[in-house]
Symmetry: C3
């Protein structure tokens, strides 16, 4: 494999099947001109590959792959299961999603198939097998993608309903267990058999039912994807993934379990792009190999129209971020703009008439810079001792039972994250419920409503005993996995292991409470207010009694604690009774003596280092201005700018959308 | 019956069936600690009482009732017809509401049954009979509640449609009558038989049809409720009611006709709680016995989440209001917070882990105070000479034909009410269309669009002849009960009995008109402008000609009247052609020489007195600050504070959510 | 025919069938009192004319027509096909529109019939034939109206679906052609036969499909209307039209093709009434005979309620506009207000109780003035050399593919129009895609996305060659009729004929670009930015190279052109790359040396003149204040006020809603 086929990868989604084959040569030429070295193909091309039932024809894609290979353009080959041809969904109508009304989705867009239809699954397996046979051994194909943007599309067909009931039966064994877990005596809702359970519809649905239904659909899609992965793994050694937005109501960890590589799509504009670091910190932690950003926009999004144009150099910085935070690929959607159809307004690397644009220039610049930085990028990684929980289990529960007033889990968690990562420049992994916690020194778990599932309760206790510092709450450990509150205490275990008793709970923040830190400075909270008093647990499991960190200074909870710290085994637990605002989190960071760079909050700084045991270990940082305004960074030593070869130290300025790749010297 | 079982009652909705029986003792203990002396049970517990078809088991509730009785906690027993068990709605799908599409509502929440299903009705009768047999003679059961929060849930099943057609046939006799009454020649809408009438669906529905459909559903629910009342009355002497919000699109008077006691639920927060006096003035007037507030919130509402926390002492004042305005019970929803399911976020007297909260303290204080005030409360009542019409008939018509621009009957009526009751401190009964008008001296009837039904036209004329002062208009007497305007004049009888001719009508207020009162001071109006000239009717029915009260000073109606006063028999009619604003209503109050306390508008003052012929007649007022800010009250003599035993006179201050129970001395 | 039956016509929609026949005499008397000389009848009266299937009874309308004729009130007779009787839609349910769900619309309002149902069509033909036989020769009937307010009501019944497929087959011949034109290889959407095509439903529909479906429905309604016109033309010489709002998603030119007279309804309030000149300029151009305004409001609109009252004299000015801009009739909806039903709140010339109002006075004044101005109105017309394209073809494409960010074709086009017509007082015809362009000197074609259909491309080139000045762009010539962009250039022909190359396109205006005019003054644009460089085409078709009109002064397009001017044949093309704001359009007007009156922008000035070869040719203007505030007009000579007979010259003031009819002397 030659130089071009190695990471860092830069490229785009490419739909050659929409154009004449003669167009491909021109496209490849333009790819090379713009510094692109990878193309993602096949995604929606089932109709081209199997124009009639059972008549497979991969010759067009064979030609395309060969042409790309010839010019050293790497390929990601995608399975087209998101868009079966019209002949298929017409002849086999059971392949299309059924609405609660009994009507089926009409063919005409995409992702309209039932995840559990055996007929659909059978067709999927066949087309994937054919593709794997044809392309499995191609050296230029550096990865595979299953389907496209799997997301929560519930189906109410008889097969799905039956399977859902079976899924519930496997989980609860008896319907009495389910009734009890969900509290179905209320309103005489109890089912007398699993067969009577109807998935939630429009209306006032039971939150436990709604959450279960989503988890079932998640599991269905995991199966759907796993089936394809199993086939591909037989035929190819290239890594297999599926491009998703992990915030798509799915268990992303379950989805990734049998897959090899994380493929990530994101499209945030200038108002939110800087927050994408949350997701990069999340996806980086999942697998041991660097993720790929499979889709991001170049100039503007669009479907039937183009949307607002991103600012100049936004594309450049947004793309650099993919590599900086630990990925090895950045790809655009799409290479050549569609001339018609649903997404005709979407920006692309080149226009539908094959012309470059002012946005293409940013890609060209990026292409040059990542080649200069390739050695640094390929020989350093992001390895951290701080983690923050973002739990699909919690998300699934909170979706239907937000519990606190106007509480949105993801928004509040992101606020917490941004205070840590952007205001305080703490690099962290964002880890999901099942993620291994060993190796971290600090774990933040706000809003982690349940400790059920994946033995998280036991693992966290063990980890604390072994020396970890666990910052937990508010709204953590308050329900079980069935969305049922504990009835003997407001928490499952936190009262016991923190040595406190929760006297009061105010599940909203519309009546702000006066609070002070242990040192007398003012504190402020949000979302909810829990109020604790301290209980003597000295001597228990190596614990001494909790000490107050924040105390209510006035109002109905006066004298009670809003935050406490408790030694537990070799570690400690900081329990938060309210959602600290940004200043409170900074206070906590300094209390915990967490070490970090100094920079303006619009400058995102990623610490990177090579393997500690490597003789020529490289170390450094990548700093990116992500909010389109002036910023600064205070260097803690001497650095060499990998792009310009300039030497830098002290406080440096970063103009809007500037990127600095700095190797420590 | 011992002391605790007498009014004033304080308590909560209690769902012991969701908890282990062992929990009941602890709950009773807590009830007593918090001053609660009544519990409302059984409401949604059909599943517990009839776990399988025909297998009735009331033993759990027998135990609960006995335990409560033992501790002198009174009970309201509720019929569970709002939540039939899943086995029932599954086996007999005709019991579930049908949508216009033909689909039936899915089991999974509540109030999802067809009001007219004979099968559903049969099951209702059976469970109610069983309950009545078991509990009808229990001395500790001080009242019964039918169903829960009946509200307008139209059902499109064949049975309902057929019954609706029959209902129309009974009303109109011939389809030609109906066509004529509704003006169905327009757009060729005429039906050729009653069988062709389809209830309104989404779309541009005929207002007469829409109103009729709602009235039919109202009648269906009255029947639904009456059937249960009839059974209960056979077995028990305790009063029977049904807990409702009377603003639920129902004929509340029809609903109450065969019931004994008004049970009222309300949940307004601090932005609207003070307006609840409107509803208390309405429900107080219905029956001769004091009403019960069966549900109000304690700290916050909530379904899948908790909502904003009510301010400190809000619960206290809101609860006191129940007694002050003439009720003898105040109950919370709910006693113990649900740990899961639809309403897990709703506040309660104790938490789902059985703990008291800072809100519980307000209940405890209330519990003590109402006992202190019990003698005053039980021996005084609210008896008034002023009334305001709030008509279900008008409401039902205005719902589908608001007639004036942006007119909302209830909102405008409440504005009118608040000007009288809160700005001018006039205590009044709010009376519905069928209510007896004898005994009142002043009746306000703004926006009373029709005088049809319940002989209101004849009763009002008679009442005026006998000396009443009737303040009527605007938008009064403008249509018949079929939502049809009069075609010979804009009013049915008002031109004739007021001796005026309506020259002009402007059905909106976007072009404000200059007006002056009879004394030259400026007047202002709203909603619409009618303009009259005076017609000579001297001598007719003891009338002399109208005199102008308000005159248009400029604009297209210059020189015409906006309000007139006409003597009629022994009384008089004040006709309003526009909706007076608050200052205009104050002007009217002083013109009418209505007597009232002086207080700030945030202090609500209720005048209470014992029977005039009682030897130890008590008299006094209850004053409540209802808007969370400082206020005052000017006492018209010397009073004794029933709670503190302090003596008070002159101007007194009331801080936010203060309540004063003041006995005249 | 006597004086009253000649234009100018003033009248209202009249529904005598809703009232007793005895009421007609009184109505006629009132019509005469108010200056009304025309009544529009029959519109929704099918039920009266055919009370039972096949039993026709036109005697009521015969009486009405005769009574009106006797009093010299002219009549427009309307076919009632928008409201078939209930017996019809009940017995023949296939006559009612089917929703995508398979349910059919319920009888109960209007326009609820399938446009393609052969049964419905058959009934229509029969009732129209009966009416034509009865009334075709009546001299007092001066015109016929087909149906009422035809608008886009798609029907999903099997007949419509089948016909739609046939319609597509006729258009595309083969399904492969359709797949190719619409780009259906993407997402494997290709159909394998026309039978598989499903009309768009809720969801993410293909824009080419959506546009085709609307065009099909448009064609269906044209057929629906043509069928009635054909019958009427057999029996009557009076002109036949159909009253519509041309902005009803229909091809208005196709609808009018076989009809004789434009009938136009409009209801804008004071915030938008002045913009109605756009539509008057559009409808005036369609036919050689003056249009009729068949519906406008008098005092307020309304359905279940009245809406805001129009300002005093609004009705007067709004009505005068009908005649001023080239029409010969102004009619109100409606004569006598409905007492009940769907539109009971709508204002009328007289109230439902038969009384005149302050609004009636404005009608009476108008009635007098138009008689004074009759000679001037009847002997002058509006004939122009400037035109602006408003294309149904473009509208239909943009509806589903707006292409630019937040682009709304009609809104942006109206902004363009208002700058020309109201800010610069340029009188113009607004012409549709098929309209003949000969005779115009200047044609503005902004946002004319396609030049396909009706040979517009060829006609425009020819017209320019013959000396026309064509101002075209932005967003013009960018797609073909199938909503497919050109893939070799961003334009179909504009690059070639303008001698430019489009280097850049920014399909949004959120990043404003600095631009300067050829003379150095600042320019500003909107909606999108195209950037061109000039290509040498000297000598081609009599062309010399383009010259820059506007140049990008900074930013990514610096140095490129935003507007160019190119000589082409005997004419020239001004290509706009961005949407000029009002000041830019004024600049362009002065660059083009277009001649116009000077007046404030709230004064709308219409130039009128008699035939040039007439010996006693009249000339003059009608000036109307349309925005309810003070304005002025600078007269270019001496004029005589046709109403007051006053002589006027120089600058004159016009108060709110003033109208001046000024004959040049």
């Amino acid at each position: 494999m030659d130089k071009n086929r190695k990471p860092p990868y830069l490229g785009a989604a490419y739909y050659p099947e929409l154009w004449d084959i003669s167009c491909v040569d021109r496209d490849i030429q333009l790819m090379k001109e713009t510094g692109c070295n990878i193309a993602r193909i096949g995604e929606f091309a089932w109709g081209t590959m199997e124009p009639k039932e059972g008549e497979y024809d991969l010759s067009f894609f064979r030609k395309v792959v060969d042409k790309l290979a010839e010019e050293n353009i790497a390929v990601i080959m995608c399975t087209p299961s998101a868009t079966p041809p019209q002949w298929l969904t017409d002849k086999y109508e059971e392949t299309r999603i059924m609405y609660p009304s009994g009507m089926r989705q009409v063919h005409g867009a995409r992702r309209h198939t039932c995840p559990n239809s055996p007929v659909m699954r059978g067709f999927n397996r066949k087309i994937v097998t054919k593709m794997a046979e044809e392309f499995g051994k191609d050296k230029s194909i550096v990865g595979w993608q299953i389907d496209n943007e799997l997301h929560l599309t519930n189906c109410h067909c008889p097969i799905c309903r039956k399977k859902f009931r079976k899924w519930l039966e496997e989980k609860y064994q008896t319907v009495e267990n389910l009734n009890k877990s969900w509290g179905m005596d209320r309103w005489s809702l109890s089912y007398d058999s699993f067969d009577k359970i109807i998935p939630p519809d429009a209306g006032w649905n039971h939150p436990s039912l709604s959450s279960a239904w989503d988890r079932f659909t998640s599991d269905s899609f995991v199966e759907f994807s796993d089936e394809q992965a199993e086939i591909l793994h037989k035929y190819t050694d290239a890594p297999v993934g599926t491009d998703m937005m992990p915030y798509a109501d799915f268990s992303y960890y379950d989805t990734m379990k049998k897959l090899d590589i994380v493929q990530f799509n994101h499209y945030d504009d200038e108002s939110g792009m800087y927050k994408i670091t949350f997701w990069l910190d999340y996806i980086r932690a999942i697998k041991d190999r660097p993720y790929w950003v499979t889709e991001t926009q170049i100039g503007w999004n669009g479907s039937f129209n183009s949307t607002k144009c991103r600012p100049i150099n936004f594309c450049y910085a947004n793309s650099w971020l993919s590599y900086a935070a630990g990925g090895e690929a950045n790809m655009y959607w799409l290479w050549r703009a569609h001339p018609n159809g649903h997404e005709l307004g979407h920006g692309a690397v080149i226009t539908s008439s094959g012309r470059k644009t002012f946005k293409t220039k940013e890609v060209e610049r990026l292409g040059e810079e990542i080649q200069k930085a390739a050695d640094f990028l390929n020989n350093t990684a992001v390895k951290l001792e701080v983690a923050l929980h973002y739990s699909y289990v919690a998300s699934n529960i909170f979706k239907y039972a937000p519990i606190a007033d106007d509480f949105k889990y993801l928004d509040s968690l992101k606020d917490f994250y941004l205070s840590l990562a952007h205001n305080n420049h703490i690099n962290m992994d964002v880890i999901d419920h099942p993620h291994n916690v060993d190796g971290y020194k600090y774990i933040f778990s706000p809003f982690l409503c349940t400790l059920d599932k994946y033995s998280l309760r036991e693992r966290m206790i063990e980890w604390v005993k072994n020396g970890g510092t666990w910052i937990v709450g508010p709204l953590s450990d308050i329900v079980d996995e069935h969305t049922t509150k504990y009835t003997d205490a407001p928490f499952g275990i936190l009262e016991e292991i923190c040595g406190i008793y929760c006297d009061e709970q105010m599940p909203s923040a519309n009546l702000p409470q006066d609070m002070t830190w242990y040192d007398g400075s003012a504190a402020s909270g949000g979302i909810c207010y829990d109020a604790f008093h301290i209980v003597n647990i000295v001597g228990k499991i190596g614990a001494n009694s909790a000490k107050p960190l924040i105390i209510y200074a006035d109002g109905p909870f006066k004298g009670l604690c809003a935050a406490t710290e408790t030694k537990y085994g070799g570690g400690r637990i900081i329990l938060l009774g309210t959602a600290l605002k940004s200043d409170g989190i900074s206070k906590l960071v300094s209390y915990l003596k967490l070490d970090a760079m100094k920079a303006s909050e619009n400058v995102y700084v990623v610490n990177r280092a090579g393997e500690t045991d490597s003789p020529d270990r490289q170390q450094g940082i990548i700093a990116l201005e992500l909010r389109g305004k002036d910023g600064y960074l205070e260097l803690d030593g001497e650095y060499s700018d990998v792009i310009s070869s300039e030497k830098l130290s002290g406080k440096i300025e970063l103009a809007a959308y500037t990127v600095k790749v700095l190797k420590k010297i």
